[in-house]
Amino acid sequence: MNEPTRPTPVPDQDSAPFWEGCREHRLRIQKCASCGTLRFPARRHCAACGSDESTWTDASGKGNVYSWIVVNHPVPREVFAAEVPYVVALVNLEEGVRMPTNIVGIPPDQVKADMPVEVLFAEVDGMVLPKFRPRAE
């Protein structure tokens, strides 16, 4: 097996606009053109109404921490050993969708439930990831 590398997003037809948005430092959320329901992750069809017509809307980038973990044991070790302990969170965006991310800019043991956070765009190994940091309410 090859030396493990950092998992890099492989955009598909549905997700490409999301990742392109990140490169432009825009947090884009897919929106059903028929019923207006926001959806994340991106899909061709709306689970609410079945429409395959969609648009993209820029999210405010503001949200709150819904749940989080602190990774102490790195997997794969070769990739994440230098980063532990790090925080992975599920963030509820103001717009109503939930998104996996990292919480940065704060010690892991300071993360709290419902903590207000805002997006920042981090370049990692040539990709741009939407991460979140604490924000003043």
Binding site: M1, V75, F80, V88, L129
Partner: protein, 385 residues
């Protein structure tokens, strides 16, 4: 809803030793467990005409096992795509297959070299495609990392403590010390649990189940045919399989799940108890899916053994100890016996109802619960002697 109450029965059980390195291909483990289950039932394996398994990581294909067993006519040979959630799904599917006339005598098995072969959550290349593109780049990759998110949510909502999670681990280990099959038999105290290192907070090492090589099998047939077999039948009273809305593609796609402090159990409880015609207070012994400590709390709550959010205080009261009001995971569970994706729970329930559980026997056990699953979907059965 499962509508075959008491019409089908488990008449044979078989298992291999549980080890870290079986030294043999997984197919051989499956065959060994199936041969033992057929022999335990007193059935010639050549008369088996259905075989069902489920797979997620390491596995042996049902039709391949039927071939290796020399079964001339495996009319219903099916592999379900599923992990721990499917352990009771395949036994319910066996009943459905027999009811439909697709088979008469069905082997259900789970086999894996889960430690020496394909380890879940490690040792593979991670491609960030599909749902994984939204998770793995953030270092959210392994099963403990996925499920710690659920556990945290329970802590946020209900103030669940490390000692409450630890009680699940300590109680399971206490049972395992009396189980010669168990992989982990050395005693564990609460201090040992609390001193174990964090893997992914809120999980310590001992919140996480074992990795195992091994196989389990059961033989299922109609109640009529079961009467003539070697052991007293263990009847399938009821069962359920399913979960809630927005389960997603896989366990990491649970990000749209309504509320991670409650899992599948809350969604299947009504069907489970109605199908069986009994309720939580009728259960004498419960083998509850414990890939991680928290999942026991959520299933106790979801299935109505205690109120939502009170799983922590419930276990801390001593209720799940083998002398408690609801003995849980009398074999030591996935945490201390072995991780055969929950199928070893089914075998322990059968042993308890036959009165074959040795020093771990729950006195006069008549009705047992088995469950499988920790997150969005799962399965459960109620069995009686």
């Amino acid at each position: 809803m499962f509508a075959l109450r008491d019409k089908y029965a488990i008449t044979g059980v078989g298992e291999t030793p549980y080890t870290k390195n079986s030294g043999t291909p997984v197919l051989n483990l499956a065959v060994e467990a199936c041969l033992k289950a057929a022999a335990d039932a007193g059935v010639d394996v050549k008369d088996v005409d259905g075989i069902i398994s489920y797979n997620f990581n390491d596995s042996a294909p049902a039709i391949g096992v039927a071939t290796a067993l020399g079964i001339p006519s495996a009319g219903y040979a099916v592999d379900f795509a599923g992990g721990g959630n499917a352990a009771n799904l395949i036994t319910l599917a066996a009943c459905a297959a027999i009811e439909a006339g697709l088979a008469k005598t069905v082997l259900c098995f789970r086999a894996m070299n889960g430690r020496s072969g394909f380890r879940l959550g490690g040792g593979r290349e991670f491609q960030a495609r599909g749902i994984t593109q939204y998770t793995a780049p953030f270092g959210w990759i392994t099963y403990p990392q996925a499920m710690a998110m659920w556990c945290r949510r329970h802590i946020i909502k209900y103030g669940t403590t490390a000692e409450q999670l630890g009680e699940v681990a300590v109680s399971s280990r206490d049972n395992a010390t009396l189980n010669p099959r168990a992989m982990q038999r050395s005693p564990m105290t609460m201090d040992d649990y609390l001193a174990s290192r964090f893997i992914v907070e809120p999980f310590r090492l001992y919140d996480i189940c074992l990795e195992s090589d091994g196989a389990c099998a059961v033989l299922i047939t109609s109640a009529d045919r079961a009467k003539d077999m070697k052991h007293k039948p263990v009847y399938i009273m009821g069962g359920a399989y399913g979960g809630g809305p927005n389960q997603g593609d896989d366990l990491f796609d649970a990000i749209r799940w309504p509320e991670h402090s409650r899992n599948y159990a809350a969604y299947i409880a009504d069907d489970l108890w109605k199908s069986a015609g009994v309720g939580p207070s009728d259960i004498d012994v419960a083998e509850i899916y414990d890939c991680f400590t928290y999942s026991v709390l959520m299933q106790l709550e979801g299935l109505g053994f205690c109120k939502e959010g009170e799983g922590g205080p419930f276990v801390q009261s001593g209720a799940i100890r083998r002398n408690g009001s609801l003995p849980v995971n009398t074999h030591g569970g996935l945490l201390s016996e072995a991780y055969i994706h929950g199928f070893n729970h089914v075998l322990e329930a059968v042993r308890q109802l036959r009165g074959d559980a040795g020093p771990l026997q729950v006195k006069d056990a008549e009705i047992a619960l088995t469950t499988a699953g920790a997150m969005t979907c799962g399965s459960a059965m109620v069995l009686r002697r």
